[in-house]
């Protein structure tokens, strides 16, 4: 079966260190962290990655009040992506547009807020809001985009823990190839810092980052790393079949070359480097490539003591035959872990490498952990590559879900 070629034609994003691709990229190359500290309900101040986009750019105040934070993030990213793509949705058949957004979780924020709300009224449930159910259904982020843009095609989320950002793009490619839609708005989104439960859960797991300087709290591969910085964010792409993109003279950021998704089936939280390596290898094969063809690997590493080592083991194993290793970097060191948005957002930060050949580093590595010292790691300062024709993007999640997505430089 011959697959349609699938390309990226527009990008909209909000990250803790940038509200557009240009701003995000500039800060990644200049070593600018977006991590700050916030008050977490019941828990005091903790490092977190928070976005500063203007929700009222594309929503009315009432829509912001009724909707969710992640709905607002999704609308901002979707609108920015459409504007960037040059598409005029008003001339399109909106029933042929799909909205596929990866989420790590959804509903925690809104449920916690309501439980807190009724705690102010002696837990009398007559004070529980009627907005609770539309806010907490799992399709909420995509549904809010559908409402905002008047898109009547399929709009739903893909729950895949922290592998979800890649999954949005993968699912979009599959639906475009099946002919289910003609255009997809796809990526990943997260509002996780609004929920104390995720902070408390990671704290109880001894996996929540702490540091006197929040900008140094997320430090994958560093000897002193001590956990995850929870962050919000979003990144949504316009994805099209190549022939459609070319027919309208679209700008093409890159082509989806291949992907793979698998499961560890070994533990609720601990990663499995053997399955991760298998996921990477199968994605490379799916792209019709060999390990020699991969120029840049963006790691999932979340700054946990164990997880970073496991991923380094997997990457070292896959690329051990290379005489010159691919460049390897990490984005969470700048923005924390944006959960469902991570895969999509981290990919976006690297796509400009196709044009400028610059590789942004992983920052905050004061003392490289010897167990993370793998060939090709770009540490603290950007480097210029001789060639960037392919980017391999890893995103892994709890319950052992792994996703690898490979984007290649577009060549007609």
């Amino acid at each position: 079966m011959k697959h349609s070629r699938i390309v990226i034609t527009g990008i909209g994003l909000t990250a803790p260190n940038g509200n557009s691709l240009a701003e995000f990229r500039k800060n990644l190359l200049n070593g600018v962290s977006g991590v700050t500290t916030i008050d977490v309900r019941y828990m005091g101040r903790h490092p977190a990655g928070m976005c500063t986009f203007d929700p009222l750019k594309y929503q009315k105040k009432k829509d912001v009040r009724i909707g969710t934070r992640v709905g607002g993030i999704s609308i901002y990213c979707a609108r920015e992506a459409v504007a960037d793509s040059g598409l005029n949705l008003e001339t399109r058949d909106k029933s042929r547009i799909g909205i596929y957004l990866g989420i790590t979780e959804h509903g925690n924020v809104e449920t916690e807020n309501e439980v807190f709300n009724i705690s102010q009224f002696k837990y009398d449930t007559k004070f529980w809001t009627h907005h609770h159910n539309p806010r907490t259904v799992a399709n909420n982020p995509s549904g809010e985009v559908s409402l905002n843009l008047g898109i009547t095609g399929p709009a739903y989320t893909i729950g895949a823990a922290c592998a979800a950002g890649n999954m949005g793009l993968i699912h979009a490619a599959q639906m475009l190839r099946l002919g289910e839609v003609d255009l997809a708005l796809a990526g990943g989104v997260s509002e996780s810092p609004q929920t104390f439960g995720i902070f408390a859960g990671f704290k109880s797991q001894n996996a929540l980052a702490s540091h006197e300087d929040p900008k140094k709290a997320s430090r994958p591969f560093d000897q002193a790393r001590n956990g995850i910085v929870i962050a919000e964010g979003g990144c949504i792409y316009t994805i099209e079949r190549l022939e459609d993109a070319q027919a309208r003279g679209a700008k093409i950021y890159g082509e989806i070359a291949g992907y793979h998704v698998n499961s560890d089936a070994t533990d609720y939280v601990l990663p499995n480097p053997e399955r991760q390596a298998q996921c990477v290898r199968k994605a490379i094969a799916n792209a019709g490539m060999t390990v020699e063809d991969i120029d840049l690997v963006n790691t999932h590493a979340t700054s946990t003591p164990q997880g970073d080592i496991q991923e380094c083991l997997a990457i070292a194993e896959v690329f051990k035959s290379r005489s010159t290793p691919p460049h390897i970097n990490n984005t969470k060191s700048f923005i924390g872990h944006t959960m469902g948005a991570a895969g999509a957002l981290e990919l976006a930060g690297n796509l400009p490498s196709f044009d400028d050949l610059m590789i942004h580093p992983t920052i905050n590595v004061d003392t490289l952990d010897p167990q993370c010292d793998i060939p090709g790691l770009v540490i603290n300062h950007p480097v210029t590559a001789k060639r960037v024709c392919s980017i391999l993007n890893n995103s892994f999640g709890m319950l052992g879900i792994n996703s690898t997505l490979i984007i290649k430089r577009f060549a007609a």
């Binding site: 009315k60 009432k62 009724i66 009224f121 004070f127 809001t129 009627h130």
Partner: protein, 85 residues
């Protein structure tokens, strides 16, 4: 509680429920839905805010009493005197 004070409290609630609306020229006798962008969910919000802020219960059978600012004042003003807050 006077009817005018009651109207002010209702407008305070509506300003939070419908923050994009200009409430400076609301006509008291005209149905709120005919002059503002309010839907059924917004009316449930108004009912909830009356409950939260003022301890006033509006049974579903009486929702029609909240149709206009004038009817709100007529219906709610006596309740302010008896609310448990």
């Amino acid at each position: 509680m006077t009817k005018d004070n009651c109207k002010k409290l209702v407008i305070d609630i509506i300003s939070d429920i419908a923050p994009d609306e200009d409430l400076s020229a609301i006509k008291p006798e005209i149905r709120l839905r005919d002059q503002l962008q309010l839907d059924s969910m917004d009316f449930l919000d108004i009912v909830m805010e009356l409950r939260k802020r003022h301890g006033i219960e509006v049974p579903e059978a009486d929702y029609g009493q909240l149709a206009s600012l004038e009817s709100c004042a007529e219906y709610l003003t006596p309740k302010f005197g008896t609310a448990k807050a």
